[in-house]
């Protein structure tokens, strides 16, 4: 078990219990990846629906890796669509309103973090959130899956849909960036 992993990963007795257990974590992962509350909720709901539709008859021990795989796949799809939209926007920008928009201004504040900021470790959490949000998607996925979800290298690579070596590289780079970014808080 990777340090930091919590112990609510035992197979759930039924699908509603499983989804209720994992939905908050899934939302946080989707929120880091999308930077938007509504987009994150939609990604999580899509993943839930896909799991219920296609895999509800599977053994409960399979639900978690299946759900994480679906969720990460949905997140990657979301990023691809956003990349296409951004390219299209760049291409059309000479014909559109030339008012500059700060990219960070498009990221809404997450009210879910407000109570957290009042906690003793609030400063670390704020910095961690910023550092995670700034990671490239694959590094972000690798870190969350391994450090938070407690998957090993092979499991994380399978969920991410990449090779084990590639997954390890993403994870190592994520750790390095977080180590540097949070150095003064340690």
């Amino acid at each position: 078990m990777v340090p930091g992993a919590t112990d609510d990963r035992a197979p759930a007795p039924d699908l509603p219990t499983f989804l209720a257990r994992i939905e908050g974590r899934a939302y946080r992962m989707a929120r880091f990846a999308t930077g938007d509350r509504d987009e994150a909720l939609e990604v999580v709901q899509d993943a839930m629906m896909k799991l219920v539709q296609n895999y509800s008859a599977r053994d409960p021990s399979e639900w978690r890796p299946l759900f994480l795989t679906i969720l990460q796949s949905r997140i990657r799809d979301w990023h691809r669509r956003r990349s296409v939209r951004n390219r299209l926007r760049d291409w059309l920008s000479p014909f559109l309103d030339d008012e500059e928009e700060d990219a960070m201004a498009r990221v809404p504040a997450d009210p879910s973090w407000e109570p957290l900021r009042r906690l003793e470790d609030g400063q670390f959490s704020i910095r961690l959130e910023a550092a995670l949000a700034a990671l490239p998607l694959r590094q972000q996925q690798a870190f969350l899956l391994r450090a938070w979800e407690g998957l090993d290298a092979a499991e994380a690579a399978a969920v991410m849909g990449c090779g084990v070596a590639s997954g390890k590289t993403h994870y190592a780079r994520a750790l390095e960036k977080l180590r540097v970014g949070l150095e003064d808080l340690r």
Partner: protein
Amino acid sequence: MSNTRDEDLIRRAGASLDRSVDALDPATRAALAAARRKALGQGAKSAWRWPGFAAPAAGLAFALVLALGALLWPSTAPLPGATPPALAEAEIEVLDLLAVQDPVELVDEPDFYLWLEGELAEEGVPHAG
């Protein structure tokens, strides 16, 4: 790379992320619960499906019922070689009336036919009926 320092970072990060889940605001929790209910409800609706062989099997069963019905339905057609039942006099008259092409008012006045028959007999015209 210091494994101990990385482990400390990972532990703190995991604890911080866990707290962020615990600290989700009520609106987000409600939205997640609604998404879960929707997913589970949609799953319940589509949980029972027609098996793949159901449509061909239903078609075959319907065709068999039709074939049995056609075989077992009592036929009104006479069997080959059978004598058709004799019609009663009244039935023949009804059939004649139904088959007549003359205007209906003539049919309604049988006295006219009796008079015409008498006239034709007096003139020596053979009976046409």
